[in-house]
Symmetry: C2
Subunit: 297 residues, 2 copies
DNA sequence: TCAACTTCGTGAAGTCCTTCACGAAGTCGT
DNA sequence: ACGACTTCGTGAAGGACTTCACGAAGTTGA
């Protein structure tokens, strides 16, 4: 009955390199580059896998999506594979980038050599702070935000990097899209919304740390799993850390604390579901896969 | 025949929250924090989903792993959920962090307020450069690497952040692990190997950009994709015995160019090609995303 | 040329994650 | 108190990705 939906999957149609594989190609590329620098000629899936922290089966599967370019009994030709992956990633031509928000983080990124060495050319740095305009970072001068459109068009820029505070991110994003940018790398801790056709990737330090924290919490198994108290309506002002940045315009249409008590009594009732339900069960389990390769989509 | 291996999977056993869900909890946490700051009392899965760039079904499914704490017809209690997620992520107690490599990137991270605001306390900054020792960033002084062990123990540090050049990363990692660190966030473009029980997550700018580049390449469908030249038959001769040691021990047993001088200028320095990119050069890469569920293709 | 190896390529099976869909539980207005 | 509505919780179905396992293709040495 779902045969019809097959069409959707087909949309991804040709080329069809799985996303998970695409995310690993850069890894292989790095290892191959390193090997090439050492004049290594060929490499087996096993060796490549070890260097990339991967399994050989996965490597072979991944590479098979690019075609059958290995030599049985030998391995893959380093130089050839290098070129093949670079081509697949669209790195044959330099890609231009604009970076918006030259603050702490923006500075570090703008001066990052790995940018250029990988074929990404930063052609513009933009900021609203007058004090930063004109300053040069990594050989590129900081320009006022207003020059965005002109710079993007003149340099045929397709990738934008956002390093502004969260509050400004969506506006900057919208403007980048209007200017013609179709790929965005966002460092601001906020989910951007963009029209279809525009890709967004997010890098979030806090998220990474919190994920580590999760696993950390399970390592020292302190199974003193106190039963969770019922979700009382009573304000408990939990911890969690108050973050300074909170300016998400999409947080509308939610229940607000009534300044004047319109519906008081009714509100406070229902203590919510008990734990009766058969399922769920969120006890604490010893886990710790410990493997380095765990991912999620 | 695979039934037996079930044991391995069972290790993940009962009640554990799926990795994919864990990776999204920080996202919800952020949105909830923002809501709480505005005195919003309850939020529906639909609203939460929109703010987090997610679907409501996914949100409900994710939250269901923590237990059934929603109220039908109403939604989730913001404060309660906030506390519940924070607890699940092990954020009830401050987590301490050491950061190694206070260079460009390290500086930015060390001064990042988002660290502290989310319950992560940077208790030490370490570097080998004598010029940096003593300098204070974000209220923390840079200490010499030798103090790592003492600092880690004294402060019960469990998380380490690596911002050194790739060439030094594995050594730093090893030392961190020896000192007692069990979670590492790695910004150096190299795959670290660690003993089981230690978690590693990587963040790599270059990988993100290359993934964007891949999709970018498919957007402007320039089908002028010249047929790939034949897989270049390699005259390769496998190395008989040992192969020279190199920066990365895992790159052993690979074919080397015959008569080629072992150490080719790659020693140590690694990246930094600086000049007009092209292909040659640096090492970049490393991957592992774990997130980004919101793309449309 | 042949036998012994090595290593790729890939169907198939298994695991994990996402999406669907709908009953249950609760709220709200009258 | 009741009927109309909301919104959660969750089994089930479907996909996506990973791992297995083994035949095929190619290499090396005698
Ligand atoms: N510093 C880090 O290590 C780090 C880590 C993770 C995430 N982040 C995130 O990256 C972003 C930047 O962090 P930061 O530490 O560099 O902050 P910052 O305040 O040092 O820099 C922000 C810069 O953006 C500029 N800016 C503000 N509004 C702008 C606008 N509308 N258009 C263009 N430029 C604008 C400011 O002038 C400033 O130069 C924040 O969202 C932060 O949460 C930073
Ligand atoms: N700068 C960026 O935006 C950026 C982005 C992505 C990844 N990275 C990666 O992050 C790492 C750091 O980048 P960076 O631009 O800050 O480089 P950097 O050269 O500015 O800083 C490196 C720092 O590490 C210190 N260091 C070197 N060896 C060390 C050792 N053995 N122990 C302790 N400290 C040591 C150096 O003294 C220096 O202070 C690199 O691996 C880089 O590839 C950087």
């Amino acid at each position: 009955m779902t045969e019809l939906r097959r069409a959707a999957g087909a949309a991804r149609g040709r080329s069809s390199v799985p996303e998970a594989t695409v995310a690993r190609l850069p890894l292989y590329l790095r290892v191959l580059t390193s090997l090439a620098d050492r004049a290594v000629r060929t490499v087996s899936s096993e060796t490549l896998a070890k260097a990339a922290g991967m399994t050989s089966a996965k490597v072979r599967k991944d590479l098979s999506y690019l075609g059958s370019y290995g030599t049985r009994g030998v391995g893959y030709d380093v130089d050839f594979l290098l070129g093949r992956i670079a081509a697949e990633l669209g790195l044959t031509e330099d890609r231009t980038v604009v970076l918006v928000g030259v603050g702490n983080l923006g500075h570090a990124l703008a001066g990052y050599a790995g940018f250029r060495s990988r074929g990404f050319r930063v052609v513009a740095l933009l900021d609203v702070d007058p004090d930063r305009i004109g300053e040069s970072v990594g050989g590129v001068a900081v320009s006022p935000l207003d020059e965005m459109e002109a710079l993007v068009e003149r340099n045929q820029v397709t990738i934008g990097v956002i390093c502004t505070p969260a509050a400004a991110a969506q506006a900057v994003c919208d403007r980048l899209v209007s200017a013609g940018i179709t790929s965005i790398l966002n460092f601001a801790p906020i989910a951007l919304s963009v029209p279809v056709g525009v890709d967004v990737r997010k890098v979030d330090l806090a998220v990474e740390l919190q994920i580590l924290s999760f696993h950390e919490a399970r390592k020292r198994s302190a199974p003193a799993t106190g039963g969770v108290a019922a979700p009382t309506r009573s304000p408990g002002r939990r911890a969690g850390g108050r973050s300074g940045e909170s300016d998400d315009p999409r947080l509308a249409m939610v229940t607000r604390a009534p300044t004047g008590p319109p519906t008081l009594g009714t509100r406070g009732t229902g203590p919510l579901v008990g734990t009766t339900g058969g399922t769920s069960g969120a006890a604490t389990g010893a886990v710790t896969g410990a493997k380095t390769g765990g991912e999620a989509s």
